[in-house]
């Protein structure tokens, strides 16, 4: 299957694949006053897959998820979740889905079990089933030991896992997660990924998650939709997306001095499809033949009498995919997004 560039052919493009559809979004629009946060997005999610919405902050991911989970009215277009229209059949949709909002909303004053039990009651889960489900989800997220602990004593990662358990306590068919690992340390993040993968295997759960972490989308999702400025710019499996970018390798090179002629010389090497300037003297070279390009690059530098400070060859990443489709780097956005860390005070050892 080829990568479905802009939205319209996404639905048809997916039609030939196996599996029934769990979610179908057709030309959905969300306007806040004059501002269009989501500008006509279409995609389908198949039963049992993990589908990722990848995009920088403000791309419209939460807005999309909120429309699909009946939290905000849809301005135009429509969304079907488990076969029910989110606008006309909101109640049916709500019964079918589990949702983890972006903010942590578990109650710090209540115990882990109370948090789960109150949600089970909100879904009218009967007593016997409630106890069984709570046991199961706690096991699934590995929090059995913490059952009677007050939620405020849990770490961030454990709280997130509790919220995931909470979203599953009524056995939903479709699970929505808005930035499930944002704000978690790398170790907790990996634990959450493993958990979600296990859940998918054991429960045949359809999951739709949003993220601005490339690695998360790459490792976790069966298919990814890249969203930017309220538009869907690319859609496909991680492999398809990477293949869609011209060049299969990225050579990152640093020369010991900057020179205006570098881009031109780099472009002339065999297999090179694109050259991106990073900082002074640092370039990312996209190529269809990593080893050939690297060899030639070293030879060229030697013949010019120039020195290389560093050189590395990588496979194309989703970063490169994002740059290819949006002309911007997702990493920069990420840096902006987490740049609230206070610098250490002068003289204080980190």
């Amino acid at each position: 299957m080829s990568v479905a560039t802009p939205a319209t052919n996404a639905i048809n493009g997916n039609g030939n694949a196996a599996g029934r559809q769990a979610i179908a979004v057709e030309n959905i629009v969300k306007r806040y006053g004059d501002f269009e946060a989501v500008k006509g997005v279409s995609f389908e999610v198949r039963e049992g897959e993990i589908f990722g919405l990848l995009g920088p902050n403000g791309a419209g991911k939460s807005t999309l998820i909120r429309m699909m989970t009946t939290l905000i009215p849809v301005t135009a277009g429509r969304a079907l979740v488990a076969g029910h229209d989110v606008t006309k059949d909101s109640d049916e949709v709500r019964r079918m889905i589990g949702v983890i909002p972006q903010a942590m909303t578990s109650d710090p004053d209540l115990t882990v079990e109370e948090n789960l039990s109150i949600y089970a009651k909100l879904y009218s889960v009967g007593r016997a089933e409630r106890e069984k489900n709570i046991q199961e989800v706690l096991e699934a997220v590995d929090l059995l030991k913490w059952r009677t602990a007050q939620t405020k004593t849990l770490s961030g990662g454990m709280r997130r896992r509790l919220e995931i358990a909470r979203g599953l306590v009524h056995n939903p068919q479709i699970f929505f997660l808005d930035e499930p690992t944002t704000g978690l340390d790398p170790v907790s993040r990996i634990a959450v990924w493993e958990m979600l993968n296990n859940l998918k295997k054991r429960r045949n759960l359809t999951m739709l998650l949003t993220t601005h972490y490339m690695e998360e989308a790459d490792r976790l999702c069966d298919r990814i939709a890249i969203v930017d400025h309220g538009k869907l710019v690319a859609l496909g499996t991680p492999v398809e997306l990477k293949r869609s970018v011209p060049g299969s390798n990225v050579v990152e090179v640093q020369f010991n001095r900057e020179d205006d002629n570098w881009p031109q010389r780099l472009r002339a090497l065999q297999g090179v499809t694109d050259v991106q300037s990073q900082s002074a003297g640092v370039y990312r070279v996209l190529t269809s033949n990593g080893s050939r390009t690297t060899t030639q690059l070293v030879e060229m530098a030697a013949s010019l009498g120039e020195k290389l400070t560093s050189l590395s060859v990588q496979n194309t990443t989703l970063d490169d995919v994002f740059v290819h489709y949006t002309g911007r780097q997702l990493r920069d956005e990420q840096v902006k997004a987490v740049n609230f860390v206070m610098p250490p005070r002068p003289g204080v050892q980190p």
């Binding site: 009946t70 939290l71 009215p73 019964r95 903010a103 942590m104 909303t105 209540l110 909100l122 009218s124």
Partner: protein, 370 residues
């Protein structure tokens, strides 16, 4: 229905787990009860009153004696003899004394002749409270002088006894009703208003809204929880406050039953009002900013601090639609007057109608989406 009770359960578990809300809601009313109860509770004592006798006749002596009697017994003021009127007036102006009594020349003669005798009283009317206390005392002194000797003495003696028996408690008893209502108001304001908006801002409601809970279940759940919290605050303050003010009502089962029904009515009214005001608010600053304004706007015109009869018309207008007014009236009827159920019937009627009405208005305004 189960889903509604899940909301109530969450709120109540939180409420009992951290007693802070309960303590916070009772702190201000209790401090107010103690401080205001004592500050305003006592009658004016030992005000300094200059007395200028320009008559020196037998009737002037009677006035002086009556003043001495006041100084010795009820002790509203003590008299300081002054030789001339101008010095006395100047000292009132400068605050060296609180008032001056002038017995004019020819006073005794006019009394005997029945020729409209009068006593002069110079007061510092920048201090309303002291001056009106002295005025009041002088008025009754003049009344006493105008009447046969025996009766006023008796009246004076009775008044004296009451003051000696309960030096400060009277005003505290009067104030207790206000404190109970205030505790309930604060409980509703924090437990219903602020926590509600904070939960909204934190995304807790987002969590509710993705579940199949209906709008009515959610609204009712939140309001029932708020009302229960306010009832608990109200009952706690009734017990603590009654003990502090020396009121025995809480030991009478029938009065206590009326009290509980009234408190339920008050909490329904306050909750409905709060919910109507907060139903479309998202900014956590709003309930905090409204707290003080509402407190002044609703609490003070209600008759909790000062009798409504003394208000100008526009203020009585506020009092008329203010649920606090009916709360205070009902509470005072039970706590101070023991007027029976009929005395609080109208208050109950207003409170229940007001509470249901505001809730009925608020429910359609409540948004089932973000």
């Amino acid at each position: 229905m189960n889903r509604m009770w899940a909301i109530v359960e969450r709120e109540m578990r939180k409420f009992f787990r951290s007693p802070m809300l309960m303590i916070m809601s009772m702190m201000l009313p209790l401090v107010q009860l103690i401080i205001l109860g004592n500050a305003f509770g006592g009658k004016i004592r030992n005000a300094r009153v200059a007395i200028v006798d320009k008559d020196h006749g037998p009737q002037a002596v009677k006035v002086l004696e009556a003043c001495d009697a006041i100084a010795a017994n009820i002790r509203t003021f003590v008299t300081i003899p002054y030789a001339d009127e101008d010095t006395a007036k100047e000292d009132v102006r400068q605050g060296k004394v609180d008032a001056a009594i002038i017995i004019p020349e020819q006073y005794s003669r006019r009394v005997y002749a029945g020729n409209t005798p009068s006593l002069g009283l110079v007061v510092d009317n920048t201090d309303q409270f002291t001056s009106s206390a002295i005025e009041g005392e002088m008025q009754s002194l003049v009344n006493a002088l105008n009447q046969p000797v025996i009766q006023p003495r008796l009246v004076n003696n009775i008044a004296l006894k009451v003051v000696e028996l309960y030096p400060y408690i009277q005003y505290m008893k009067f104030l207790l009703s206000g404190s109970i209502a205030l505790a309930m108001y604060i409980s509703v304001m924090i437990g219903g208003g602020m926590l509600y908006i904070d939960d909204k801002a934190r995304g807790v409601h987002e969590g509710y809204l993705v579940t199949p809970i209906t709008k009515l279940e959610l609204v009712m759940g939140l309001n029932i929880a708020g009302a229960i919290k306010a009832v608990l605050s109200g009952i706690s303050l009734t017990v603590i406050g009654s003990l502090m003010a020396g009121l025995g009502t809480i030991f009478h089962p029938w009065a206590m039953l009326q009290m509980i029904i009234l408190i339920v009515g008050i909490s329904i009214a306050f909750n409905g009002m709060m919910f109507l005001m907060m139903v479309r608010v998202d900014d956590p600053l709003v309930p905090r900013a409204m707290f003080g304004v509402l407190n002044t706007l609703l609490f003070f015109p209600s008759g909790a601090i000062y009798p409504i009869a003394a208000f100008p018309a526009w203020l009585r207008g506020i009092a008329f639609v203010d649920p606090f007014t009916y709360a205070i009236h009902g509470l005072q009827s039970i706590l101070l007057k023991d007027g029976g159920f009929t005395a609080i019937r109208n208050d109950l009627l207003f409170l229940f109608i007001f509470g249901t009405g505001t809730l009925l208005l608020a429910t359609p305004l409540f948004k089932r989406t973000l």
